[in-house]
């Protein structure tokens, strides 16, 4: 069914192209912008492979068009820096045709006239997109329109080291019940810090919890745990709650005071954060599911042995800020954006082909990201090698996305300033809230709603 519609689409394209094309072969170069990223080489790779499929279809239809993909591989330090580089290139007319980007940049891309609205393309090809997990479409929406295609999804979590818990005298029943207690709202963020401090003080670990050292989605996930709803859908504006922010910063301070969180966490390098958990110095790490591969290697666990892994490590959502509250998760999908260029129809077809089950599973299983299509979970590769991803799916139940607002980058950077100020002891939680609110009001102005 799917194959037939892919063929049909290919033939339709070829006919369209053929009508206008001269008799000799016509090379169409599709420029693909993607940052070199260890956590997903198949993101651009699948587009390059899709060109072969599309060319076969074009040839079968007798078209003289040959699609070539020119990969622009950037060395930006992260998706934010990469998006800014892309916007600069776009501003001088150097716009690529397909972009691999973090979803929250879609707002800025649409506003800059860079991203093409893909609603028409998606509706015209229901058989290519019909199995995409519906919730993921939310991550590509800007002002009601869809400006991208989900490339992968993920779950984030606190990884807890069970061996250390056992060393600290915790029973296997306690460990097995942790995830459930978090989901029931019985085990809170404060409890997590107490537990980390207890493990550390018992001598079972050198460090308590480690988190990312720089601006990023994990902090939004923790903020959501303290009841901060970052986006007002009706007004399409960002928002923040003062009381929630104060609770969040107070929690960070108490974690540092208890010794559960290093005060200089924000000056760590990424390598030291990874090494702290994989080298079994830290009891817990706050990050995402794609860490699985490196953890298996570091702990010397057979990649196919899920039981051995979960005997050593427990995954929990970010617990609720207050007892009885809901835990939170944050999925941060990477998306394909098709630029509004003359090649956009061909580019969109390449994206459609790369989104199919087989290529997407190569990426998902290879790099430990949750899939974009429902059906992928039943594929043999997934069933044998993807046990970790299957285990991550229940966490998705509590997942939210970052808002696709053009100023979300600033919002994250400013709230991170507060994290750094509180953790290093430069400010009290109250002072940090005051500073962050003032910065938000000044830098974001009308784009942010401040709630008490």
């Amino acid at each position: 069914m799917i194959l037939r519609s892919v063929l049909a689409a290919g033939v339709a394209l070829a006919t369209l192209g053929g009508a206008a094309a001269p008799a000799f072969a016509e090379d169409v170069t599709i420029k693909l912008w993607s940052r070199a990223d260890r956590s997903g080489p198949m993101r651009p790779g699948n587009i390059v492979d899709a060109a072969d499929t599309l060319n076969n279809m074009l040839a079968a239809a007798g078209s003289d068009k040959v699609v070539k993909v020119e990969l622009i591989e950037t060395n930006a330090k992260g998706f934010d820096a990469d998006a800014l580089d892309l916007l600069k290139a776009h501003s001088v007319g150097d716009t690529p045709d397909i972009i691999v980007a973090a979803h929250e940049w879609i707002g800025a891309f649409a506003q800059a006239g860079l991203a093409a609205n893909l609603d028409g393309h998606i509706e015209a090809n229901p058989n290519l997109y019909g199995d995409v997990i519906p919730a993921l479409w939310e991550s590509v929406k800007f002002k009601g329109g869809r400006y991208g295609i989900p490339q992968d999804s993920e779950v984030r979590m606190f990884f807890l080291n069970n061996d250390m818990l056992r060393k600290a005298g915790k029973s296997d029943e306690f460990i097995a019940g942790l995830s459930e207690a978090v989901n029931a709202g019985e085990f809170t963020m404060d409890d997590l810090c107490d537990l980390a401090a207890e493990v550390k003080n018992s001598g079972a670990s050198e460090l308590g919890i480690v988190h990312r050292p720089n601006v990023g989605p994990d902090f939004q996930m923790a903020m959501a745990s303290f009841g901060i709803d970052m986006y007002n859908d009706e007004e399409a504006r960002l928002q923040i709650t003062k009381s929630g922010l104060k609770d969040y910063y107070t929690w960070l301070k108490s974690c540092v005071d208890k010794g559960a969180l290093p005060a200089d966490m924000t000056t760590y390098s990424w390598d030291s954060v990874h090494a702290a958990f994989r080298g079994e110095k830290a009891f817990s790490k706050f990050h995402g599911i794609w860490n699985l591969g490196a953890q298996l290697e570091a702990f010397g666990i057979d990649p196919l042995d899920g039981d051995a892994y979960f005997n050593k490590i427990t995954w929990i959502n970010a617990p609720a800020g207050k007892k009885g509250g809901t835990p939170k998760n944050l999925s941060h999908p990477i998306v394909y954006v098709v630029a509004d260029t003359p090649n956009k129809d061909l580019a969109a077809m390449l994206v459609a082909l790369a989104t199919q089950h087989v290529p997407n599973t190569k990426h998902a299983v290879g790099t430990n990201h949750t899939p974009v299509n429902y059906g992928q979970a039943a594929m043999p590769d997934f069933v044998t090698k993807g046990w970790g991803l299957v285990a991550g799916v229940p966490l998705l139940e509590y997942a939210e996305f970052m808002p696709n607002h053009p100023k979300i980058g600033q919002y994250n950077a400013i709230t991170f300033q507060g994290v750094q100020a509180v953790e290093t002891g430069e400010m009290t939680p109250d002072e940090a809230v005051e500073m962050v609110i003032e910065e938000l009001e000044t830098e974001l102005g009308e784009d942010v709603i401040i709630l008490d």
């Binding site: 330090k77 916007l87 800059a112 430069e426 500073m435 000044t442």
Partner: protein
Amino acid sequence: MRASSTRRQASNFAIFLGPALAFLVALLVVPIAVDLVVAFTDMAQTVTVDEFTTKQFKKIVRVSDDSLLGFELRGSFYRALTLTAIFVFFTLSIFNVTFGLVLALTTTALPDRLGAFFRAVWLLPRMAPSVVYALLWIWVIDPTERGLLNQVLVNLFGLEPVNMKLDHPMTVIVLSNGFIGASIGMLILTSSIRSIPQHLFYAARADGAGSLSIIRHVVMPALRWPLSYITVFQTLALLVSFEYIFLIMGPSRSTMTMAMLAYTKTLAPSIGSGLYAYGAAITLILIVIGMVIALLLYRLTNMKSLLAQPRIEVH
């Protein structure tokens, strides 16, 4: 005849001064002009200009009833200015001038080869690529017992390990910039000391002057101009310096000087940058501060008489 000579003058001007002028305009005048224009726009991530406005400057102050002017600097700017002042003052006074002077005096007092060796050692940080130099610093001050400093403190002196990045961030950036900055002062002052006629030293010795008196009465008077020059030049350089601060400390709040603030708001990776107009406004303020300080120091050190034409001509 006259017309052709004028033409030749014009073509000579173009050939000999043209490249230098083009260089000056492209690398010095144009960036400042661009900064001036961008500072009064709303240019952000999308790199488009929708309006000309002064709103970037309004972000720097806040309304205050207590203040005489009716407004005061916002917390982050007040802090950035203070950190800049501390950074520039201590790096300059301890290292770039004083330590540079000490190095010049001591290495010229040593036998030539030994002096040259020590000068070469102090030039090493300047010669090393900045990333390598920064990496060495990161290793030296690593808060765990892997760090060189902590290895020395713990193993040699039996002290507790220290966390310099967390507890003494400004010391880190003053030291790391100072070790590099001292070498320029050292070079300029060494050459100045070398250019003092030898007979003055002999005469002083013959008159019974000791080493300290020679330094005070023979060497120091000859170093007045070079010292003034180093002070003015290095103040301006340090005001806008952020390379080593960023490489060693990252976008840390504790070392967020004005230059770092401008960088993190515009081009720094992964810290909410992309606010080009806002960063340009901060840079513009930095340019104005630099100009005021330069003029002030120019006056204070009487630089005018240094640059004046000599009254007599020696043949």
